[in-house]
């Protein structure tokens, strides 16, 4: 027991008991479970095996195993550096973010990515927007807003990015449910829809949010086909759920960021779905597709229903309030870089080329591993997308990989493809073959 506690115990007898009670609750703070990936990263950095391979984290590495800056991003940084007008003011950004960033990002998301339905939404002033701390920040602000005014129930896929549950539970959601997504190496779309239909009633006054991974599902790397998405979205719309589209890997399917927004495009297809009566939430991140991970650049767009001229402004004023009491205003540097990259067609074209070459390398890794291992899943390009491959390997196999070969993967069997390169692909594949024998 800590001394400060005893001290306040003593104080208890001398004075009143207010301090004591609360201080002892501080002493009982349990240790929160450690972040799994970080623990492995630590162990990895201590590993002395020269052949060690880190296949845990979701950061793109090039064929030399390095995290490099995209050439277009580097070019933008250089311009920023040398332009007095752009680098002489480090003042606060407005609470909801830089106006230039807002304009370029809305353009990218609702014109480039959704050319048919998006421009109209912008013209009708139906998109509330806030610059956020990357994708995580977008989810957080969305959760705070929803919990305050709309809903405290959210459906998250089983499996999903572990932070989804953490975020929603800690931001006002008291009912966090799971829908079936993936079992025994396969998507479970029918069960998913069945879960929703059995448990969500559209007329009982409750409202349910649902998290949809826009593409490159984390951790499985397996996305529904377009046909399947249609069935899923039909159900989500039919049940009047509130879609929260988590778009953290836009561009990592095809190499073309605009093209990869297909789930957003489908949702916004008015001829099929009309409008989303409770709004549609888009959480978007430039972490992976611009390689701006640590700079925390992203956004939340809320598409509000039509014919409510007040809604956009009202929602934005609430988003402002949420941000103001959480961190006042978003960080500027990364957003300045992203704004420049999005500022002209030439720049954007170059950026798309960077994304394409990243994706090409990831596809080569898939092909190379398939050639060596014969795992069909690796080259099921219709559904297997992005930087992760779910091996299905069990903990004892993963432990052996780590202990005997210094190959590190997360304990769910997720493999981060960008950790594989020409220099270690044989080593990695031979190790897989050896432990599976």
């Amino acid at each position: 027991m800590s001394n400060w506690l005893q001290c306040s115990r003593r104080c208890f007898w001398n004075r009143t008991n207010y301090g004591t009670r609360a201080l002892s609750s501080f002493d009982k703070i349990p240790r929160a479970p450690p972040d799994k990936i970080l623990g492995l990263t630590e162990q990895f950095s201590k590993d002395k095996n020269a052949k060690k391979v880190n296949l845990t984290v979701g950061v793109y590495k090039d064929n030399q195993g390095l995290v490099t800056t995209f050439p277009t991003v580097a070019k933008a940084q250089k311009i920023l550096d040398q332009d007095e007008n752009m680098n002489s003011d480090l003042s606060y950004l407005p609470i909801i973010g830089s106006p230039a960033y807002r304009k370029s990002t809305l353009n990218f998301l609702f014109r480039d990515s959704c050319p048919e339905s998006g421009p109209k939404l912008l013209e009708q002033e139906r998109v509330s927007f806030v610059q956020t701390l990357s994708g995580t920040g977008a989810l957080v602000v969305a959760a705070d807003l929803l919990a305050q005014f709309v809903s405290r129930t959210v459906w998250i896929p089983n499996l999903s990015w572990p932070n989804h549950t953490n975020i929603f539970k800690r931001h006002g959601f008291n009912d966090v449910r799971q829908y079936s997504y993936y079992e025994n190496g396969k998507l479970t779309v029918d069960k998913w829809i069945d879960n929703l239909k059995k448990n969500v009633k559209k007329n009982d006054g409750s409202r349910h949010c649902i998290i949809l991974h826009a593409c490159c599902h984390n951790p499985t790397g397996v996305d529904p086909t377009v046909e399947q998405w249609r069935k899923i979205l039909d159900a989500v719309r039919e049940l009047e759920m509130i879609p929260i589209i988590d778009m953290a890997y836009q561009g990592l399917v095809s190499g073309n960021p605009a093209k990869d927004a297909y789930v957003l495009r489908m949702c916004l297809d008015e001829s099929r779905y009309g409008n989303w009566p409770h709004g549609l939430f888009l959480c978007q991140s430039f972490a992976k597709n611009m390689g701006l991970y640590g700079e925390r650049v992203g956004s939340l767009s809320v598409v509000v229903p039509p014919n409510q001229p007040e809604s956009k402004g009202n929602v934005e004023s609430q988003l402002k309030q949420i941000v103001r009491s959480m961190y006042s205003s978003p960080p500027a540097y990364g957003c300045r870089v992203a704004t420049l990259v999005l500022s002209s067609d030439d720049f954007k074209r170059d950026w798309y080329k960077d994304v394409e070459s990243m994706v090409q390398r990831l596809l080569n890794v898939r092909q190379g591993m398939y050639d060596r291992l014969g795992w069909e899943g690796l080259i099921n390009f219709e559904q297997q997308h992005g930087m992760f491959f779910y091996t299905g390997l069990k903990p004892h196999a993963l432990n052996r990989l780590r202990d005997e070969y210094s190959i590190y993967m997360t304990m769910d069997g997720r493999l981060s493809l960008s950790g594989v390169n020409d220099h270690n692909i044989d080593y990695v594949c031979d190790a897989f073959k050896a432990i599976l024998d």
């Binding site: 027991m1 800590s2 001394n3 400060w4 005893q6 306040s8 004075r15 008991n17 207010y18 301090g19 004591t20 009670r21 609360a22 609750s25 349990p30 240790r31 929160a32 479970p33 450690p34 950061v59 995290v67 800056t69 991003v73 940084q77 550096d81 002489s88 003011d89 480090l90 003042s91 606060y92 950004l93 609470i95 990357s134 995580t136 920040g137 953490n166 975020i167 931001h171 009047e240 009566p277 709004g279 701006l292 640590g294 700079e295 925390r296 409510q308 007040e310 402004g313 009202n314 004023s317 609430q318 402002k320 949420i322 103001r324 009491s325 961190y327 006042s328 205003s329 500027a332 990364g334």
Partner: protein, 422 residues
């Protein structure tokens, strides 16, 4: 049906400062002055990138290992450890005894937000006391997390000085184990700090009641140009409270490094001294630290990297640190010069009232004592913009506009005096 579901989202009033900025930029008058801004401006009224920041940026970008990879959840270790030394002092017993947990935050606001979350989870049912008046955002930061707030006496508007007696009384009247938010230096909005003797009395009173202190340190080094001097209250607090309770410190590098928009700050939690041999400091520290990580993970995943790298470079490179110290002197001496200049001009205009408080106050702001009516007239008649509380940002003054401002204040004060005679 519920087409209307978002209709019950109520529209909130726009942020006062942002509004001022907008009205100001639309004002066609030739001579206009913005005294609302919360950021330093140089003698030409321009934003100023500190020379130490320029050099640090260059070093960061030229470093061959520079990239944009995620920082760890608790932030950049070179930043957090050096930041702790800045606020606590190199020879701090708390550091020597390994009682400090430091994590990176989104500037001062983010640090206060972490404190608010932490309190609502682990120290519930306590009232948190804020100075009257205080930074407008304080109430919202804590109330949003369900922390009950109250106010303690601070500013005596009659004498334009500290209401020490009321302050001490508020401390006494608060239930034992309450939480007090203390502005470490350069109190916002008044610019008025307790002197060293008064701090002694305040902190003794807090210790006697088992209260918990949160130091909000947003202006260290910016106020006086001297980091140690501006950390006086925090360090005295650690000395006096370390046997009693944990201490929270919310540290911002917005003003003193001029990294406003990059959102660089730290949250430090100083654990109390453990005399008891059985107390396991290490395990308490690990537990608290793990809870902070989990919390940060659910807020931002990890903190923004660029500003943190720049700040860390300044704090860890001796010649940059030295330059930074000079930069803080540049800023604080210009501010002090403007304070004196405004006071002198008002005195020579024989403007009714006393104006010495402008010089007695420190930091970015001065609480002038001008009424909302006068503030309105300053804007409508003289194109001088400030918030309705009468707070002016001294940073907005320079040799080119201080005359205009003094004459404008003189006019509105006399106008008020004249009209109140009727």
């Amino acid at each position: 049906m519920s087409q209307a579901i978002l209709n019950n989202v109520e529209k909130l009033p726009a942020d006062a400062l942002f509004d001022i900025k907008q009205r100001f930029s639309k004002d066609p008058r030739e001579v206009k002055v913005d005294l609302g801004i919360g950021a330093y401006r140089d003698e030409n009224g321009k934003p100023w990138v500190l020379p130490s920041v320029r050099s640090a940026e260059k070093l960061v970008q030229e470093d061959p290992s520079y990239n944009h990879e995620y920082l760890g959840i608790n932030g950049l270790p070179t930043l957090t450890s050096n930041a702790a030394k800045i606020i606590l002092g190199e020879d701090s017993p708390a550091l020597a005894e390994d009682r400090v947990i430091s994590v990176q935050s989104l500037s001062g606001t983010g640090a206060l937000h972490i404190a608010a979350k932490f309190i609502s989870k682990f120290l519930p049912n306590r009232t948190l006391y804020l100075s009257n008046p205080t930074w407008a955002n304080h109430h919202a930061i804590f109330q949003t997390q369900g922390v009950k707030t109250a106010i303690y006496s601070y500013w005596d508007s009659k004498t334009k000085s500290l209401d020490l007696e009321g302050y001490l009384q508020s401390i006494k009247n608060a239930p034992n184990g309450s939480i007090f938010v203390l502005h470490a230096c350069a109190h916002n909005p008044t610019g008025l700090d307790p002197n060293q003797e008064q701090w002694n009395q305040i902190l003794d009173a807090i210790a006697a009641k088992d209260h918990i202190a949160i130091f909000d340190s947003a202006y260290q080094g910016f106020a006086s140009g001297d980091l140690n001097r501006d950390a006086f209250a925090v360090r005295l607090g650690i000395q006096k409270l370390s046997k009693v309770c944990p201490i929270f410190i919310c540290q911002s590098f917005a003003k003193n490094i001029g990294l406003y928009g990059e959102r660089v700050g730290c949250f430090h939690l100083v654990l109390p001294q453990q005399n008891d041999a059985s107390a396991n400091l290490v395990s308490i520290k690990t537990a608290v630290s793990s809870q902070l990580s989990k919390m940060i993970r659910s807020e931002v995943s990890n903190s923004p990297a660029y500003g943190a790298k720049v700040a860390a470079k300044i704090l860890s490179t001796p010649h940059l640190t030295e330059q930074w110290h000079k930069d803080m002197i540049t800023m604080s001496s210009r501010i002090n010069k403007m304070r004196a200049s405004l006071r002198d001009k008002l005195v020579s205009l024989k403007t009714p009232g006393t104006w010495d408080h402008i010089v007695g106050q420190c930091g970015m702001f001065s609480y002038t004592g001008l009424s909302p009516d006068m503030v309105e007239r300053l804007e409508s008649q003289h194109a001088v913009y400030l918030v309705s509380s009468g707070r002016i940002s001294i940073a907005g003054l320079n040799d080119g506009n201080v005359d205009h401002v003094a004459k404008a204040i003189d006019e509105v004060v006399r106008n008020q005096a004249a009209s109140s005679k009727f």
